[in-house]
């Protein structure tokens, strides 16, 4: 497999995430789309790690491929933390307005 395939896939997923963020108004869905973006990155990182592993192996160099996978791990940690915060914000909002439409609130503008 060439890395380009992974890049293409990952970017496609990333774009799907972006388009989702842009088109949906439900805060939870928007947030989920962000998660899709993160997953696209994760996939790409793993693919890159294997790419580097392949090329280093070819040059008989030690591989540091684990770095990227550790990175992905940390991304997941952060994502989890973000989710907890994000969902509590959304819940708070819902409690106050009974809506999770991101465009419902726009007192702050101009």
């Amino acid at each position: 497999m060439d890395i380009k395939a992974y890049i293409a896939l990952s970017l496609t997923l990333f774009t799907i995430g972006i388009v989702g963020v842009l088109t949906r108004r439900n805060a939870i869905i928007v947030f989920m789309c962000v998660e899709v973006m993160l997953n696209a990155v994760n996939l790409l990182l793993v693919a890159f790690s294997n790419m580097h592993a392949a090329s280093n192996a070819a040059k008989a160099l030690p591989t540091f491929a684990s770095d990227a996978q550790i990175f992905v791990f940390f991304i997941m940690i952060v994502a989890a933390a973000e989710v907890s915060v994000g969902l509590s914000i959304i819940v708070m909002l819902y409690r106050n307005t009974h809506s999770i439409d991101v465009n419902f609130l726009n007192r702050l503008k101009n």
């Binding site: 890395i3 890049i7 990952s10 990333f14 995430g17 963020v21 805060a27 928007v30 947030f31 962000v34 973006m37 993160l38 696209a40 990155v41 790409l44 990182l45 693919a47 890159f48 790690s49 790419m51 580097h52 090329s55 280093n56 591989t63 540091f64 491929a65 770095d67 990227a68 550790i70 990175f71 940390f74 991304i75 952060v78 933390a81 973000e82 915060v85 994000g86 914000i89 959304i90 708070m92 909002l93 106050n96 307005t97 991101v102 609130l105 726009n106 007192r107 702050l108 503008k109």
Partner: protein, 466 residues
């Protein structure tokens, strides 16, 4: 290193204090003590960092790079935070029930700031930025029953998460494009000639993400709304300390990773700088609310700070340090006064010069500093930035553009000054009980600091060459 660890520890301490201490005022003192401790520890580290005997000696596997420059920056940040606590401690208490937690979050932010200032790998950059951001989402929404606060929090969170995605994509591409397969910022192999496409793509993603964090146009859209919606104390905090930390991270990354191929991406920075200056300054002109005006002004100031990213030379680093100090102190000062106001519109300031001359005087000093009038720190910081940009040959017009916008900035800062001095006082603007003696003293100290740095910027810059 001291600051990172201590701030994390103190954050936990504050967290528990929230649970165990019922008094609302105690956490403030604890927080002040903590910041003082941090400051001292950091100062000691700065003092002896060559000998390396007096600080925690953890093997970071070179993931952190501690030098006098970033230690100085941390010192500045801590000093500003101290000032912030002393000026606004009482206002933090008013935001809600969880005073201890608020302070804990602020300490966590400080931890993130210190990370963002000292990181040596993209991983810690990412973690640092996230540790800075996540508590801020919470602090923004901490005024739970205020819909504006809720809205700001949601906006900030969604857009922040989005930008996290962007940044990660950037990191991924940089990692992928780097034949060394490393996340260390000084271990990115660029090759001869123009840089590899993947790195270029990653670099643009990084610029976008970091621009978002420092609220540079066109990624600034969250700033006015969030700054406006957040409880004013926290606006004060995040528009200053967090923002300059973002810049520090920005400069650090681009200096170490991409400094050599600066010419290949400078155009982007120029584009962003000009756009930021334009949007920040122009939009600020029309604002009626001082809080919102300050939000736009922070964008405008970010435009000036972008010059450091543009220039990336020693002068720029000095300038960034100065800017951090000058901008933070002044903005914290203005916000501290603003918080005491009953009316956040410019009319709310009417006649302050007659009713509260000291407050008005200090505010004037802060605003003059933000405008960049000589003898204030604001002038020195702008001056250093301009010099830095001018030293970077070839784009002198950028300096002139920056200066023109600086002149426009006088337009909105002076509106407040005009209101304070040249208009008749309206209804009771301030609850006098709020203005304690210590508050006045602190405000005066802040003003004096501004002037002291304005006269002798070596006070800040000198540490860099310690």
């Amino acid at each position: 290193m001291n600051a990172i660890l201590l701030s994390a520890i103190w954050g936990v301490l504050m967290m528990f204090s929230g649970v165990f201490i019922k008094s609302k005022t105690t956490p403030k003192y604890l927080a002040v003590a903590g910041i003082l401790l941090l400051f001292i520890a950091n100062a000691l580290e700065l003092n002896v960092f060559n000998t390396g005997s007096l600080h925690f000696n953890i093997d970071t596997k070179e993931m952190l790079n501690i030098n006098s420059f970033n230690l100085t920056f941390i010192a500045v940040v801590l000093a500003c935070t101290l000032l912030f606590f002393l000026l606004n401690g009482r206002d933090v208490e008013k935001v809600g029930e969880h005073v201890g937690e608020y302070f804990a979050l602020i300490f966590f932010v400080i931890c993130g700031v210190c990370l963002a200032a000292t990181y040596n790998t993209l991983l810690l950059l990412f973690l640092g930025i996230e540790i800075m951001s996540i508590p801020l989402y919470i602090l923004t929404g901490s005024d739970k029953r205020n819909l504006k606060s809720n809205e700001a929090s949601l906006k900030y969170f969604l857009m922040g998460a989005f930008s996290t995605g962007i940044m990660l994509m950037g990191i991924a591409f940089i990692y992928g494009g780097n034949p060394n397969g490393s996340f260390f910022i000084n271990n990115i192999q660029m090759g001869e000639g123009s840089m590899p496409v993947m790195i270029a793509v990653g670099l643009v993603f990084m610029i976008i993400a970091l621009s978002f964090k420092v609220s540079a146009a066109p990624f600034h859209f969250w700033t006015p709304d969030v700054y406006d919606g957040a409880p004013t104390v926290f606006t004060s905090f995040m528009s200053t300390i967090v923002k300059v930390a973002g810049f520090f991270a920005f400069v650090r990354l681009f200096e170490n990773s991409f400094g050599k191929v600066q010419s290949q991406w400078q155009n982007l920075i120029v584009f962003i700088t000009v756009l930021t200056l334009l949007i920040g300054n122009i939009t600020a002109v029309f604002q009626q609310s001082v809080k919102r005006m300050l939000a736009y002004s922070s964008i405008a100031q970010a435009g000036f700070m972008m010059l450091a990213v543009f220039a990336l030379n020693d002068r720029a680093k000095e300038g960034l340090l100065l800017y951090s100090a000058a901008y933070s102190i002044a903005t914290i000062g203005v916000f501290a006064v603003l918080i005491k106001m009953n009316d956040y519109t410019i009319e709310g300031f009417n006649g302050l010069g007659k009713t509260h001359s000291l407050l008005a005087l200090c505010t004037t000093v802060f605003l003059l500093s933000l405008t960049g009038i000589p003898l204030t720190a604001g002038f020195q910081s702008k001056f250093f930035m301009l010099m830095a940009a001018a030293e970077n040959t070839g784009k002198f017009w950028l300096v002139i553009v920056a200066v023109i916008f600086a002149a426009i900035s006088a337009y909105y800062y002076f509106k407040v000054i005009q209101a304070m001095y040249f208009k008749e006082p309206g209804v009771e603007v301030i609850d006098d009980k709020e203005i304690t003696g210590s508050f006045k003293i602190m405000l005066a100290i802040a003003a004096i600091l501004i002037i002291a740095i304005g006269i002798y910027p070596e006070l800040v810059v000198g540490w860099m060459y310690h």
